[in-house]
C-alpha cells in the first residue's frame, strides 16, 4: 500500500526542507517498506544541489541515511497513528501546524556498517528499502538498502530508540 506526503506528515514531525521522502510503499506495517524521493530541483530540496558539491548535483550521503530513518519511522508508527488520526492534534497554527503531538519519538542511536557505492544525482528517484530486523525493549534495528536510478548506492543498518507510548515528545 502506498502512502503520500499527506499521510507521512500525519505520522512524522519532519517538514520541508527536511522532509526527505515524498511517498512510502508499505510492505507490512511494523516490518518493512520503501520510501521514495524524486530528486528534483523545483522544490525546497533543490537547495542542496546548489550548495553541496554544486558541480556534482548530488544528494549529500548523510541525508540518504536521514531519508531512510524517516522511512523507518513511518514503517514503525504509521499504522497506529493514521488509524488514530493523531496528525490533527497539532493544528493550532504557527510553524508547527499539523505536526503530530503527544506521540512517541524515535531517536537514531546507531548507524551501523553503512557503505556507499554510488550517489543519488539530480533527476534520480531515490528509493529507501527498510526492513525491521529486531526489536529489543525500546530499540529497533533496521537494515537499509538505498537505490538511485534503479541501482544500489548504499546499504547499512540503523538503530532507533523509540519512546514508550505516553512518554511525551
Amino acid at each position: 500500500m502506498r502512502f503520500t506526503a499527506e499521510d507521512i506528515v500525519k505520522v512524522i514531525p519532519h517538514r520541508p526542507p527536511f522532509l526527505l521522502i515524498d511517498s512510502v510503499e508499505i510492505i507490512e506495517f511494523g516490518k518493512g517498506g520503501v520510501g521514495q524521493k524524486g530528486l528534483v530541483k523545483d522544490d525546497s530540496f533543490g537547495d542542496f544541489f546548489d550548495t553541496y558539491l554544486p558541480s556534482k548535483r548530488i544528494m549529500p550521503r548523510p541525508m540518504i541515511i536521514e531519508a531512510a530513518a524517516q522511512t523507518a519511522a513511518f514503517v514503525v508508527a504509521g499504522e497506529r497513528l493514521l488509524k488514530e488520526g493523531r496528525g490533527n492534534e497539532g493544528d493550532a497554527g504557527g510553524p508547527a501546524a499539523g505536526v503530530p503531538v503527544g506521540v512517541p519519538v524515535g531517536y537514531l542511536v546507531k548507524i551501523g556498517d553503512f557503505s556507499f557505492s554510488g550517489d543519488a544525482v539530480e533527476g534520480d528517484t531515490l528509493r529507501l528499502n527498510v526492513v525491521l530486523d529486531n526489536v529489543f525493549g525500546a530499540l529497533h534495528k533496521f537494515s537499509v538498502v538505498a537505490e538511485a536510478g534503479g541501482v544500489e548506492i548504499a546499504r547499512g543498518s540503523l538503530t532507533f530508540s523509540v519512546e514508550r507510548a505516553g512518554g511525551g515528545g
Binding site: 542511536v109 546507531k110 530486523d133 529486531n134 529489543f136 525493549g137 525500546a138 530499540l139 534495528k141 538503530t159 530508540s161
Partner: protein, 90 residues
Amino acid sequence: MEDRNELISRLKTLIIESLQLEDIEPSDIGEDEPLFGNGLGLDSIDALELVVALEKEFGIIIPDEEVGKEAFASLNALTDFVQREKKDLS
C-alpha cells in the same frame, strides 16, 4: 552436546566479534562479572546487537528485556540460558 567450556569460549568470541570489542581478549571476560554496567561495560545498544548475534548463531530468540536481563546478567548466566534454550530447540 557441546561441552560447557567450549560454549563459554564460543560465547566470548561471539560477544567480542559481534560488538567489535577490539581491545578485549576472551580472557578479559570474567564468567561471573556483569556483562553490562560496571562489569564489561556494555550498554543497551550492545544488548540489541547481542540479541541479533545469538539469534543468528544459535537460532535463540530473546523476546524481551526481562528475559534479556536474566540472560545477560553474566557470562555464566548467558551460558545457562543458551544451554537451556538449545535443549528446547533440539
